[in-house]
Symmetry: C2
Subunit: 336 residues, 2 copies
């Protein structure tokens, strides 16, 4: 039986777990490399800038700034390729993969899924691609900020768009589990909508709150206490990172921002005409309680076997329901 | 010389520090009572409900639900009266004070200053009134939640509206200092604008963010991480408390909310037409840095003696500049 304590590595027919090829050795890619090796995987990687390559090598990792060479090795070993470059660089990296290692199982850890899936299709790599997004990070960046424990206990979205290959899906989910995360299945569109709501909108509102506070001058800032401090915390993130994150998900963020503008406009009218905040406050309180309760008695996905009829639909439903996968089911033909 | 370590109590002509009469023994009033006694003051108080009175007495405090009796004692002792009832009850309590103890120095710890000042004028109590607002609190309420240390290191706004009596101003500032706070001088209008920006707007935006997250369903909530958690924290506050706080300051909150709607609407247009968040993100980041820097090298107000020509103007300027009073200057005629 497979459990959390058993390595979730998937064996190739020959019985050797596939190696992991990480493209982009920043905070997330560098952490994937460390975590995968800590789980017993063979890992190697590429980074464009020599500084990160040197730093990774100094830490004992196989790293190179020769993308072609790294991809040739991935093709030979049929490695699981993990794209972890910033969104603007994704298209070019995928182009190289299409050239040199088109048969490798392919995933990514980019924070937006729809645009990556589209770029993958454009490069003809869709058949072997299953997207991913570990919901973890810090305000830091770069190889040095990486940490083998970054994904411990985190949720790692694994894509369930129509047409996914069950074998690749297992490989990607196994990597997430090996890194210590639980797996949340989600379609690209659903992921991007959710990320807009719980990750990108918080940044936009924090920026707006910080601006409103600072417009009150030194007096207002000197009176600020916990609610302002917490509400503006992520406005302290480097602007380039926030822009990159929000702009990559612009298509999903825009309708969510419009929703919030409607909610605030209604609150504004209630305040102006009835001096009342009760509608938005009651709804917001209820929503926060729903969030606080989400963790208690979290459902665990069991019995859905990738490749079985309807497996993608079943995983999608489970993900929408807030359920998580904590171990891969045994494959048909596994010893039981 | 007077410093932070010296009690800041102000002596009456007879040399005895005035007693403190607290009206309303909830979280804030109950904490004022405890902190003032811990600083060596004589304290007594009133609460409408018998439960808090019983609890306060059990903790060894002189408390009563007989408002007339409590005010008669305050009038005899020329106590400093501290109004700490919720805004809707302020008018009635002030009416009783006008009846029985109109000559006592008078302050309050209500979270909004303009409406209290107006009610004070309506009751003819303006000459002996200096408003106050300690910027401290918890999500708890009631006598039991009170804490003598609640105001340690907090900022306590003391009013500097035109026409304040310098002797009363000293008494109110001395109470704030005795409770362990630093004093920030501010006009009622300025205080209410600042509070809307750094205390009430954070609640409104937290509610809106919580609503947007919950509309993403279980999937979105299961993916939420630190930015959503911190951004919605104060949406966990009891709705009745949030409504009371925001609605009491509706006049100041409305224009601030309109400002934020403009900022977000501009961000929405930039996202829709240029897929860009750079303007709001750059401004928000700068604003957050201004907030983070406010504490470092905080200016200390020195040399402004209440009653000296232009003292109110000087204190207003200092407060706008983010400066704080940490000790009262010696009065003219004090031994030096």
């Amino acid at each position: 039986m497979s459990g959390r304590d058993t390595p979730a590595v998937v064996c190739e027919p020959g019985g050797v777990p596939e190696s992991v090829c990480v493209l982009g050795l920043g905070l997330i890619g560098g952490s994937v490399m460390r975590a995968a090796r800590a789980a017993g995987r063979e890992v190697f990687g590429y980074n464009r800038s020599a500084a990160a390559v040197t730093a990774a090598r100094a830490d004992g990792f196989e790293a190179s700034s020769d993308l072609a060479g790294v991809l040739d090795r991935a093709a030979r070993e049929q490695s699981l390729i993990v794209v972890s470059v910033p969104m603007p660089a994704v298209g070019a990296v995928l182009g190289e993969i299409a050239e040199r290692a088109p048969g490798c199982p392919l995933t990514d850890v980019v924070s937006v899924k729809g645009p990556v899936a589209e770029a993958v299709r454009e490069q003809g790599l869709d058949a072997r691609y299953v997207g991913g997004h570990p919901m973890a990070g810090t305000a830091e960046s770069g190889w040095e900020a990486g940490d083998a424990a970054l994904f411990q206990g985190a949720t790692w979205v694994v894509g369930v768009d129509e047409g996914r290959d069950p074998a690749v899906w297992r490989q990607v989910a196994a990597l997430a589990l090996d890194c210590g995360s639980v797996v949340v299945p989600a379609e690209s569109r659903e992921h991007d909508d959710a990320a807009a709501r719980i990750s990108h909108l918080p940044h936009v509102l924090a920026e707006a709150l910080a601006i409103a506070g600072a417009r009150g001058g030194s007096l207002a800032l000197s009176l600020a206490a916990g609610s302002f401090r917490d509400g503006t915390r992520v406005a302290g993130t480097a602007p380039a990172l926030v822009d990159a994150m929000c702009e990559a998900n612009a298509n999903a963020l825009l309708p969510v921002l419009d929703e919030v503008l409607d909610v605030l406009q209604e609150a504004r009218e209630a305040l102006a005409w009835h001096s009342s905040t009760s509608v938005i406050v009651a709804a917001g309180h209820e929503a926060r309680l729903a969030y606080e309760k989400r963790g208690s008695g979290r459902k665990v996905i069991e019995g859905i076997v990738p490749g079985d009829p309807g497996w993608l639909d079943a995983l999608r439903e489970a993900g929408r329901d807030g359920a998580v996968l904590v171990a891969l089911p045994e494959e048909e033909g596994d010893a039981r």
